[in-house]
Symmetry: C2
Subunit: 432 residues, 2 copies
Amino acid sequence: MSSRSINPGILNELPATTLSRLLATGQCSAIEIAEACLRRVDAREAEVKAWAYIDPEYVLRQARARDGESPRGPLHGIPVGIKDIINTSDMLTQFGSPVYRAHQPVNDASCVSILREAGCVIMGKTETMEFAVCHPARTCNPENLAHTPGGSSSGSAAAVADCMCPLGLGTQTGASVIRPASYCGVVGFKASYGLINRAGIKSTSETLDTVGFLTRTVGDASLLASVLIGWEYSGIFNKYDNIRVGICHSSYWASADAGTIPMILNAGESLREAGCDVSEVSLPRPCDLATEAQATINLYESFRSYSYERSNFPDQISKSLSARFEKGKGISLEAYLSAQQVLSECRLKMSLLFKDFDVLIEPSAPGEAPYGIDNAGDAIFSRMWTALHLPCVSIPVLKGPSGLPVGLQIIGPMHSDKRTLEIADQIHRMFA
Amino acid sequence: MSSRSINPGILNELPATTLSRLLATGQCSAIEIAEACLRRVDAREAEVKAWAYIDPEYVLRQARARDGESPRGPLHGIPVGIKDIINTSDMLTQFGSPVYRAHQPVNDASCVSILREAGCVIMGKTETMEFAVCHPARTCNPENLAHTPGGSSSGSAAAVADCMCPLGLGTQTGASVIRPASYCGVVGFKASYGLINRAGIKSTSETLDTVGFLTRTVGDASLLASVLIGWEYSGIFNKYDNIRVGICHSSYWASADAGTIPMILNAGESLREAGCDVSEVSLPRPCDLATEAQATINLYESFRSYSYERSNFPDQISKSLSARFEKGKGISLEAYLSAQQVLSECRLKMSLLFKDFDVLIEPSAPGEAPYGIDNAGDAIFSRMWTALHLPCVSIPVLKGPSGLPVGLQIIGPMHSDKRTLEIADQIHRMFA
């Protein structure tokens, strides 16, 4: 091991991209990173409650094993938290539900296995809402423990925000990555629908469920994406001139807290000053129907996905989830297909709109994290984008009236994940 | 129980729609149906080898329980075989792979649970190829035991063809429902992509995997579809005048056996005589690229879906599947996205083409089932339709030179599953 300038005590606070360089140059070891993360867990977990399952000894065993191997790539030795609706062959996977309190999967989800192949240390399973849908997790927001971290990727967002690990996997069917990222003041990235394989992830809504990440830098999200989506990671981001930014005036702006829209308009002003080509944009019809279509589809599909749990464990399903299932049962095939038709039209229209814009921006959530942990907040600012299958990044550059974070959401064209992350990184730096 | 005209010894030979009426009028019981099916299994299973798991006592227990209840709907008391890549909470689910030889899922797949809710008797698990992809099942074709039943829904096709049960669930990523239906002389139905929930089915290729059925009548497929897709089942089919039939001249006609295309042209002639409006149609560009796009996508996605099995059990994966994984590894994100782009364009073009046609027809397979069980046959006549997400029905109305069955494939517009089944039923009757 060569000369060391890094205090191992703060390794848990560094981004994965930095850790990767330190590991590659022998300035730290995987075991030191794991120890720093575990110290933080030890100090804070009783309050934050980010983890549904964590075994420190097992984390250390993995890290030791990684230190004994030749590096497999830029994620080698980096700890990652896994949302607890994602199967792990060596850790319980409870889906946030008492139905699965003793559930030990026989295999890893595709995304977990690919991260192991890349040398990641699987840190543990992070708390989620009931089936990533309803009853909130017990997790608290590290920014202010009296507030919700948002959901459903609650634990991944809180663990990463609290520097218990640099990387967290999440999933989004409505707002489950972008909203907790916004509330916890971290970066959230939801990939384009379909680009990250979902084998081994509990299915809620087949045409909506999408894998995403919680990280502290856009660079870290890009590193994870390079491995899970599959492009060469160089550590160097392309830079863009005159980025064309559309401030997205969506039909649900009225749902935002009083100060939020002015903050977004201000952010647009800052981007203009930083050289972006900023304009306001109204979405083409029928995008005004997309959020409702998302709800119809989500209810219809999840009623079917959870047929086994509904039939066999009605008493172990929360009242709010049971009520959602009842609603889903009432939706006809015709209503479902017509919602899918609306979304097909919107996707075509959006692909045309993106000829004039590199990215759109809007708030990641209506405002700050609500008080209390029984309400994971409103999903309204993400449901449409999830349904339109577009890549979204939330960057923590705004503050609400109580000083809690609010994310700026950056939306890119379908399948432009690499470019959208590069632009989001560039925009993030404009606010630094 | 009222007056009986039915010999219980032949209940296994009757379609589910008939059994449903007999049950409803007290002319037979679920236990009598189960016994008749089990007698057939007992007589023939040693030769046909359709079942990966079957426990006769448990089948009888289920049937007895159904007889003791008030009927839940038209499928109440009807036995169904489940392809062994579909999870069952009470039966091993081996995915056709030694990796999962002792695998007992903790839950039912959505489709299994919905069938149980509807009162079905789950008969057992039917043989499949390795992960429904490669190494053939041990199943033989009941029409001629020296021939393949096709794959990968081999066991469901053989069990239904041999009258061991009236209904079988299958899945199709390439040709895995339509091909075995064609080879075994039964009806195959592959639903529109996405209409039947896939939660709890082993994922191979997320954008291709589709649930389908093996039955002996189109009416039975329609009955199953009414429950699993979700429309009211009346037992009465709409009738259509002047059905506009396109004989689909696809780019792979040259792959058909010598006699197959003339048979299809003859079938078109018969349909014309029966009052259909029949014409030949060439598919719009870029449909000539769709079959290759299906291959690219299948290889890319399955390489990722099976990451866990690849990494942890390389010695328990067949050479042919390992070779496929190697090919999948070599496919770039760009190549994958460009294949998806081709399919998006084809889907739009096909929706326009279907303004002029009610259905298209072509062979279900290149010809008769090949000799031997080591070769499940060529998937070429289905891969494009699977990739285009269209509903397809195979009806057993043709015979090859050795007297083995060849299916006539009927393809309908996206999401027109009910109508396509009604038209397929009407066409089937034209050949009676």
